[in-house]
């Protein structure tokens, strides 16, 4: 492959919380090249001041997500063939999060909302108690299984227009986490969890646009989880007033 002879035009967002602009780079085309490879090439060969974030490079840690040609993607597992538009790439920091520098965003709000959505395990037993059996074929366990394996990459959060329109909205990842815990038979914090996802900014703001499910690299479906939360909170609402 004559990778060195061919190059692609890459436009990379440079700046910080105050603002910024796109900067153009010419990057050599290589075989089996990922978007993260492209960013790394720029940082190592063209401009060492380029800031970006990654760790595992194999789709486990969830730290390298960026906007690639306008779509949120995990850059370490996105081959450029899948993302190239007119032979070029536009790489920007993840949407809906404040920028620290260049391609690195401040994900504090994203993680704070996990806590606000009661996305925290509240055990009903102590370590002194015997291990509680959970039936792998049980209905709750099946619902929980569909919602786990999230890697906290923030792609659903960046894809969501409700997050963009409403800064208080907890977002797909936090609500998906709340749903997986709502289906955990060992958890005793369900009342507080239902209350947490029912406040302003809670699950009821979701418009089921399903961008979260469209772009989730782990093929999770936060919209389905949020629908589950809507259903359970509605049942609770009607039950309490009967």
């Amino acid at each position: 492959m004559d990778g060195q002879a061919n190059t692609m035009a890459v436009s990379v967002w440079r700046g910080d919380a105050e603002g910024g602009a796109f900067q153009a780079f010419e990057v050599p085309l290589r075989e089996s090249q990922t978007v993260l490879d492209v960013v790394t090439w720029i940082q190592q060969n063209a401009d060492p001041t380029l800031a970006y974030r990654y760790a595992c490079r194999v789709g486990m840690c969830g730290s390298c997500a960026m906007m690639v040609n306008g779509k949120p993607r995990w850059t370490c597992r996105t081959h450029i063939e899948r993302a190239l538009k007119d032979g070029g790439l536009e790489i920007a920091p993840l949407r809906n999060l404040p920028v620290i520098k260049d391609l690195a965003t401040d994900m504090s709000a994203f993680f704070d909302k996990w806590i606000a959505a009661e996305g925290v395990f509240r055990p009903s037993k102590t370590r002194a108690d015997p291990i509680e059996p959970v039936d792998p074929a049980g209905a709750m366990r099946i619902d929980a299984s569909a919602a786990i394996e999230c890697i906290n990459c923030g792609i659903c959060y960046a894809a969501c227009d409700v997050v963009a329109a409403n800064a208080d909205y907890l977002g797909p990842a936090a609500l998906n986490r709340a749903w997986s815990l709502l289906n955990d038979e060992r958890d005793q914090g369900q009342e507080a969890r239902l209350a947490a996802v029912s406040r302003r900014g809670g699950c009821h703001n979701c418009h089921s646009q399903q961008g979260c499910a469209q772009f989730c690299p782990k093929s999770l479906n936060p919209t389905a989880s949020i629908a589950g939360l809507k259903r359970e909170t509605a049942k609770n609402f009607l039950g309490r007033r009967r």
Binding site: V162, A165, N166, S198, G202, H204, A234
Partner: protein, 110 residues
């Protein structure tokens, strides 16, 4: 913008509206066949308790549903929040309820 209470109001009003809208569409398709006239419409509705109830419930449900729907749009696109948003929601609800109730009265009063 939407808490559980408003969400429930929005979905319950939708559940009430669904069969009413289906009925309304059926009436429209039937009534439009040989052109509309005031006499034809009023002949059907005037003095009818059934139509008054049908469209009275329609107006109530649609006032709730449209007020909450517009509330979400205004909050998300114009970033209106707090007291202003609450005032807007109530204004739309009461405005539609008043105009709608007057219209139902106008076509069903004997």
């Amino acid at each position: 913008m939407l808490d559980l209470r408003l969400y429930m109001l929005q979905r319950l009003s939708a559940l009430i509206l669904a069969p009413l809208v289906l009925g309304h569409i059926a009436v429209m398709i039937y009534a439009v066949q040989d052109g509309l006239s005031a006499a034809e419409i009023l002949g059907r509705t005037q003095g009818s308790w059934a139509w008054a109830l049908f469209y009275g419930l329609f107006v109530l449900a649609v006032s709730v549903h449209a007020a909450i729907g517009l509330r979400v749009i205004v909050a998300e696109t114009l970033k209106l929040r707090g007291l202003g948003l609450a005032a807007f929601t109530w204004l739309v609800f009461l405005g539609l309820l008043f105009l709608g109730a007057r219209a139902v009265y106008a076509v069903t009063a004997a």
